[in-house]
């Protein structure tokens, strides 16, 4: 006899509760599938949109070592995008469909990439601050209840740890450099501070998706916990290099063992997510143009693939 929805749900939740992984063929509530597709495709989009702000600096990277590592880094982002699109495809949505949703503006990507990268120091700060915040979030997601997502995250976190070193190394070189170079780094740290804090998402009380994602262990920590972890980790590093944190009220609280910090402007997050950020248009236009310019190549490869299949 067929089991009722409630029985299946109870069984599913018990598995999640025991820490078991849910795999592609397993029964799952429709809301779980939808929430995962939303998170994973958003994550994949973030990787390929995230190539743009740093990729901009590839032609100008100073010196062989910087140029080689920057190309390798931005290439990794493409690789992560590919991996995540494939993981999301296990839930029944194609890469093409996901891409269309990105280009039409329906799907979102990490808000932080809607901010500009006017100087070379921004390449360092993205690798160091933004990728640190990303790794803290992704290390948590590596515990996710959905198997393909958790496994993709493990591999991505491993590579991201190199990105953080690459970014830190750029900023450390500027810290040892001339007054102009130090100023370039400080300005960049200031500009990226609040956008980076916003990355872990709004406080959980304001987040619609967060509660459900926590319940089904798609994620295992609240936005606020992830943000606090980031602040505690990064503030001593910034100060150790002789730089300042943009938040003048940021201080260590002995009682709690955590750094206190000023919340970012959540209205700004809303505005930027909804399309009104400094670079939203530039980023989407760049992806759309790339997609259009490459259409003939994708069509040709598809036709050639069919011809070879018929010939075989």
């Amino acid at each position: 006899m067929d089991r009722t929805y409630d029985e299946k749900l109870a069984d599913f939740e018990a598995r999640v509760g025991r820490g078991e992984k849910i795999e592609p063929g397993d029964w799952m509530p429709e809301e779980y599938r939808k929430n995962l597709i939303r998170m994973m495709s958003q994550h994949a989009h973030s990787e390929i949109v995230g190539q743009l702000p740093e990729g901009k600096w590839i032609p100008y990277a100073p010196g062989f070592r910087r140029k080689l590592t920057l190309v390798a880094k931005v290439q990794d982002e493409a690789g992560h995008g590919q991996l995540l699109y494939r993981a999301a495809e296990t839930l029944g949505k194609s890469r093409e469909d996901m891409m269309e949703e990105l280009l039409s503006g329906k799907a979102k990507y990490a808000n932080v990439f809607n901010y500009p990268t006017p100087t070379w120091a921004d390449v360092g700060v993205i690798g160091w601050l933004v990728d640190t915040a990303a790794v803290i979030n992704q290390t948590m997601l590596a515990q996710s209840s959905y198997g393909p997502y958790a496994r993709a995250m493990k591999r991505i976190c491993y590579e991201e740890s190199f990105h953080i070193k690459q970014g830190y190394d750029i900023i450390a070189a500027l810290a040892r450099g001339t007054p102009e170079q130090r100023k370039m780094a400080q300005d960049s740290i200031d500009r990226w501070w609040y956008p980076t804090l916003m990355m872990s998402g709004p406080p959980d009380s304001l987040s619609v998706h967060s509660q459900q994602a926590l319940k089904w262990r798609i994620k295992t920590k609240s936005n606020e916990q992830v943000r606090q972890e980031f602040v505690d980790h990064i503030v001593p590093q910034i100060r150790a290099l002789g730089f300042e944190v943009a938040d003048k009220d940021c201080s260590y609280d002995k009682t709690s063992g955590h750094y206190r910090y000023t919340q970012p402007d959540w209205e700004e997050l809303k505005r930027v997510i909804n399309g009104d950020g400094p670079c939203n248009k530039e980023r989407l236009d760049a992806r759309r143009k790339t997609h259009e310019d490459g259409r003939w190549v994708r069509e040709a490869l598809a036709v050639k693939g069919r011809k070879s299949a018929e010939a075989a």
């Binding site: 032609p59 100008y60 010196g63 290439q75 493409a78 003939w296 190549v297 490869l301």
Partner: protein, 266 residues
């Protein structure tokens, strides 16, 4: 520092030869990296980023050998030298164009590079032998990649054929400039450093023409002895430092941050 040269070959001759190799790889590697984040599919984004790293890496290797002659390190050579002193062929400096142009240029260059490396892997000069034997494996992968794209895009759709043919029309005459003679050509051939650019060009034509023709593309060549001879004018000048504005712009980009703050380390 210091390198032992056989009798009859001057340091100027060898550094002219090495600069041509190093600058070709540097400039094409730079062009390839312009596809990072902008390729038609993620798989090609990854492939071209990889090739860019390989080419830049090869250039680094040649500059490191050059350093033993000139005393200038690879960063000084690539990031501080005036663009007029570059010795790359003009071909590698042209803008990346559409993906068809990039694929055709990459194929023509990859095979030229492969032919050149095979030739110098039996050079009379030890350091050339060692390095070419080390990097030829990567170049073989590059040829597999670009040749595969030629075969797949050449006659797939009407548009792909049209684009690939116009790319060949533009890129082929330009690519002949890879084989422009060096000032020290005779000196280096006599000493057995390499077989000379004419020999390399023949070996190259014998390999690229059949691949392009098989992909239904027309190539401006005629049969000549056991290989082909190219019709039309070769786009020379690069090896003498007579470059186009495209190299000037590329080098300005390449060096912009490096030169931003005098004497800074990055």
């Amino acid at each position: 520092m210091g390198i032992e040269l056989p009798a009859g070959v001057t340091a100027e001759a060898l550094s002219e030869f090495l600069l041509a190799l190093a600058d070709d790889e540097l400039v094409l590697g730079h062009r390839d990296s312009e596809w990072t984040a902008y390729a038609p599919i993620l798989e090609e984004d990854i492939a071209f980023s990889n090739i860019a790293q390989d080419e830049l890496g090869h250039s680094l290797v040649w500059f490191s050998l050059c350093e033993k002659l000139t005393g200038k390190n690879p960063d000084e050579m690539a990031f501080q030298r005036p663009w007029e002193d570059f010795r790359c062929c003009r071909f590698v400096a042209y803008p990346k164009g559409d993906f068809a142009y990039t694929v055709v240029r990459q194929f023509l260059f990859d095979v030229a590079e492969q032919v050149r490396l095979i030739a110098i892997s039996s050079s009379s000069f030890g350091p050339l032998r060692e390095i070419s034997q080390r990097i030829i494996r990567e170049e073989n992968y590059h040829v597999m990649h670009s040749q595969g794209l030629i075969e797949r895009l050449g006659d797939a759709t009407e548009e792909s054929r049209r684009r690939m043919q116009s790319a060949v029309d533009v890129a082929f005459p330009q690519s002949l400039g890879i084989f422009e003679h060096l000032k020290a050509e005779e000196e280096l051939v006599d000493a057995g450093f390499f077989p000379g650019n004419d020999a390399l060009k023949s070996a190259w034509l014998a390999q690229v023409v059949p691949v392009l023709r098989k992909a239904t593309l027309t190539v401006p060549v005629h049969d000549h002895k056991n290989t082909f001879a190219a019709d039309g004018q070769s786009d020379d000048g690069g090896r003498q430092g007579k470059h186009t504005v495209h190299l000037q712009a590329l080098v300005a980009d390449l060096q912009s941050v490096y030169k931003l703050v005098p004497n800074a380390k990055w």
